[in-house]
Every structure is written in structure tokens, then in C-alpha cells.
């Protein structure tokens, strides 16, 4: 491991105050509500309190909006951080994109006082002023560091023995590593360990840390689907039963677009795609009927039957 992660001591300190401000993002609440259900249920069972607000905007998107104007991207991000600052809580995100934008914005504005001043000038007509240093965490980080894999293993009621899983971390959970500083950018282990904590196996594969290709959907469809295909081929070859993601963009790319890739390249993958909190909920004993699995495009029954 090249980078140091937050130590267990630090995470123990936080254990007394597990109360986060939930940043739902755009895509999950509107298009993938089943991801929100699983995240909420898992946090509830693991006794992580959440506070909510309706005042957040789009994070905004670290690829499109940042490519158009870095200053617009930073200013919108800073406005969201201001809201967390006013409420006085750390942010918990459900999406890798929100995670990168908010964490990087917090990082950049805390390091560079000139830039902070510039952004605060833009926020002035909004009657907001960002002070810096807001803590932003991804739900995977909270599960891995605040709760810990031992505690998760202790709490599960229905271990997922025999289930073979492909861990799909997604780029922005770990890169750029000097900013995200959560797990290794090339050989991360948090998600693999979180999967193993449920009793399942996380199998190795080629090019595990490849981008899912979703950022290119609005730029060049062919390119995006070719990258998705590369991933799906490698995942299929690894011999898993399903894919596990941590991000709504990866989730969409592999669940909804799996069929598109199959049609276009005359392939058959048949790989159900779960958001990690969904698998966690199943292992914690949540009734599958509460989790909205019918909203998945690739049917998940084969996996549900296997772990029954």
C-alpha cells in the first residue's frame, strides 16, 4: 500500500458520533431509488444516524461540468459544502462522482487561500461563505473505517457463502489518491474485504481498476460501450456470479447497458449487478421484497436463489 489510510484509532474516535449529513446526489434518488433504499436500510441497521436537507444541488459532475469550467465546478461544490458547514456535520455520499467533487473541492479550497477567496466572491450574492475543511466520506469509507469489517461480520444474519463476486470500485473512490487518500489507487482492498466480510468471495480479474466507461456516454457512445465490454469480458472470464459497485454511474453502465453491449457485440453475460449496500442488506437479513430488486434490468433471481 502506497498511501496511508485513516487509522483504526481515528475511526474509533468517531464511533461516538456517527451522525452524517446525507448527500443523495442526482442520479440515485431520481433514477436508481433502489440504491437509496439499500443505503438507508444498511445505515439504519448499523446505527449510523443521518441528517437530511433538500438544499443541495448537483455536486456537480466532476467530468462534464469540470471540463466546461473548473471555476463553475468549484463554486457549485463550495455552495454544497457551505450547507454542510451551516448544519455542522460531515458529509456522507452514496456516489463516487459526488465523493470526488466534494472531497476535491474541500481539499483544493483548504489548500489554496487565493482560490478560496475567488470562490467566496462568487458565493457572495448567495450570502454564503465557505471556511474550508469540510469532511466528506463515501458510504464505503464509513462502512470500512467507522464500522469495520469485523463488526459487519458480527452483525450479519445470512452469510453469503459460496457467492462469487466481482468488486468494481470505480475510479473516483480512490483516484486521485493524494486527494481521496482512502485506499490504494491501483490495488485497493476495502471493497474486496467488505465483500468477504459478508461471507462471499471476491475474485481477482484482469484490469480490475479500469474505468467503467460511463463518463463517455454523453460524448461518444461507441467508446463508452467498448470500455464497458472490456470490463464485462474480464469479469465474465473471472467466473463470478455477479458484479458489485459503489457508484450509480458504474451501476447504470453495467446493469442497464449490459443488454446494450450484449446486443451490439453479440455476447451473453447475464451478470446481475448489485450496489454494495444491497448485498449488505441481504446479509443483514433484510427481506429482499423491501429492496426493489424488480427495478434492476439484469434480473437478480439467480443470485437470490443461490444465497437463500
Amino acid at each position: 500500500m502506497k498511501r496511508t489510510r485513516a487509522t483504526k484509532e481515528e475511526s474509533n474516535l468517531e464511533k461516538e458520533n456517527k451522525d452524517y449529513l446525507l448527500f443523495k446526489g442526482c442520479l440515485i434518488p431520481s433514477s436508481l431509488p433502489y440504491m437509496e433504499v439499500a443505503a438507508r436500510r444498511a445505515l439504519e441497521i448499523l446505527e449510523i444516524k443521518i441528517t437530511e436537507t433538500d438544499n443541495f444541488s448537483c455536486c456537480p459532475d466532476p467530468i462534464g461540468i469540470k471540463a466546461i469550467s473548473e471555476l463553475t465546478w468549484l463554486s457549485m461544490g463550495a455552495r454544497n459544502l457551505c450547507i454542510a458547514q451551516e448544519i455542522g456535520k460531515d458529509i456522507l455520499t452514496l456516489c463516487n462522482g459526488c465523493y470526488e467533487t466534494l472531497k476535491e473541492t474541500s481539499h483544493a479550497l483548504s489548500e489554496d487561500s487565493e482560490l478560496l477567496e475567488k470562490v467566496n466572491k462568487i458565493l457572495l450574492p448567495l450570502n454564503r461563505k465557505y471556511e474550508g475543511n469540510t469532511i466528506v466520506k463515501h458510504i464505503a469509507e464509513v462502512l470500512y473505517l467507522d464500522i469495520g469489517t469485523n463488526q459487519i461480520t458480527n452483525m450479519i444474519k445470512k452469510p453469503l457463502y459460496g457467492l462469487k463476486v466481482a468488486a468494481f470500485y470505480g475510479c473516483h473512490l480512490v483516484r486521485p489518491s493524494d486527494v481521496m487518500n482512502f485506499d490504494d489507487p491501483e490495488e485497493p482492498k476495502s471493497l474486496d474485504e467488505l465483500i468477504v466480510a459478508l461471507g462471499a468471495d471476491s475474485l481477482p480479474r484482469m484490469r480490475k481498476m479500469f474505468c467503467c466507461g460511463a463518463p463517455l456516454l454523453g460524448v461518444n457512445m461507441d467508446l463508452s460501450l467498448n470500455i464497458a465490454k472490456e470490463n464485462l469480458d474480464n469479469i465474465k472470464t473471472s467466473g463470478v456470479d455477479c458484479i458489485v459497485t459503489l457508484c450509480p454511474f458504474c451501476q447504470t453502465q453495467f446493469d442497464r447497458n449490459q443488454k446494450v453491449v450484449e446486443r451490439r457485440f453479440n455476447k451473453e453475460y447475464n451478470l446481475p449487478v448489485f450496489y454494495y449496500p444491497e448485498l449488505l442488506c441481504l446479509a443483514l437479513g433484510v427481506d429482499p421484497y423491501q429492496l426493489g430488486f424488480d427495478l434492476h434490468i439484469v434480473k437478480v433471481d439467480q443470485v437470490l436463489n443461490k444465497i437463500k
Binding site: 431520481s30 448537483c58 455552495r79 448567495l126 483516484r175 489518491s177 474505468c211 463517455l216 460524448v219
Partner: protein, 168 residues
């Protein structure tokens, strides 16, 4: 107005000493290409060549080539470059320039339109509402987030930019 000022500053920054120092240490090893998922599926996209052109000051050539938009911003190049060149972050700056000089891909125009209108990139339809209700999720309350966002877009010149893009 803001847009032109911004553009000038960006080009100054990229052509400037600090920036060039960063780029000049590129020894064309190609490590960035080896790990790039886009280069893997499209041999015409090549971050090494972008760095070479940049070190030669050929900014026009880079921004006139639509391939620039193919970078999916995965940061693998930034992580692996033996010279610690923040390739992906440099490409973002080049995209910022290309956006102002030549415009942006249509997908991004639509995304920006949505943000300007609602402050978010996806809308809440009645179907969404129904589905959320079935899943016992709390109702999404529409606040006037977009008023703040409009102000930000105005301050950063992005609203004028968007108007120009829509007229194209």
C-alpha cells in the same frame, strides 16, 4: 466578457513558466498510454502525444482535435506517470480552453441546460415519485436551489457560454 478574460488567463497559465516546467519533464515514456482505458479501445487517443504537443506549445492543435473530449478523467495516467505529471488535470484545463474556443459535446450542453434549469442533472418525474412511494422513500422536496445555481453560473460566465452553445 468573463469568458474571454477567463480564456486569456487559462492560456497564459498553460503557456506560463510554472506550467511548462511541469510538462517539460515528460520524457515520452508512454506509461500514461499503457494504463489509459480510452487508448486501450481507441488507438487514436494518446495522452503522451497530448503532452508532447503541449510541451511544444501547440495548444491550437490540441484543442482543435475532438479526441481531447475522449479522456474519461479516470486519473490512471496521473497515478502512474513516473515524472509525477498530473496528466488528467492538465487535460481538464485543455478542455476548459477547448470549451471556450470551440464549444462542448452535445451531451454536455444538455447536462448544463438541466443544471441551469433545476440545479440538478436529473428531474423528478411523477413516475419517480410513485416509485419512491412504493419503496417507502421520503418525498423529494423541490427547493429553489436553481436560483443559487443561476447566480453562480452568471458570476462565472457559464450562463452566457451556455446561451452561445444553445444557439449553435
Amino acid at each position: 466578457m468573463e469568458i474571454e478574460k477567463d480564456l486569456e488567463k487559462l492560456i497564459e497559465e498553460i503557456g506560463g513558466e510554472d506550467f511548462q516546467k511541469k510538462v517539460q519533464v515528460c520524457y515520452q515514456c508512454g506509461t500514461c498510454v499503457g494504463g489509459c482505458p480510452v487508448a486501450w479501445v481507441n488507438e487514436n487517443f494518446n495522452p503522451r502525444k497530448i503532452m508532447l504537443a503541449l510541451s511544444r506549445g501547440e495548444i491550437d492543435e490540441i484543442i482543435n482535435n475532438d479526441l481531447l473530449w475522449f479522456c474519461c478523467y479516470c486519473h490512471t495516467c496521473l497515478e502512474r506517470c513516473p515524472q509525477k505529471i498530473p496528466v488528467s488535470e492538465i487535460i481538464v484545463k485543455l478542455k476548459n480552453i477547448a470549451a471556450k474556443v470551440r464549444g462542448i459535446p452535445e451531451g454536455y450542453v444538455n447536462e448544463l441546460k438541466m443544471i441551469a434549469k433545476t440545479g440538478r442533472i436529473s428531474s423528478i418525474s411523477s413516475a419517480t415519485e410513485r416509485r419512491r412511494e412504493q419503496l417507502n422513500l421520503p418525498k423529494l422536496v423541490q427547493t429553489s436551489v436553481e436560483k443559487d445555481i443561476k447566480r453562480i453560473l452568471k458570476q462565472t460566465g457559464t450562463n452566457l457560454f451556455l446561451e452561445k452553445e444553445i444557439k449553435k
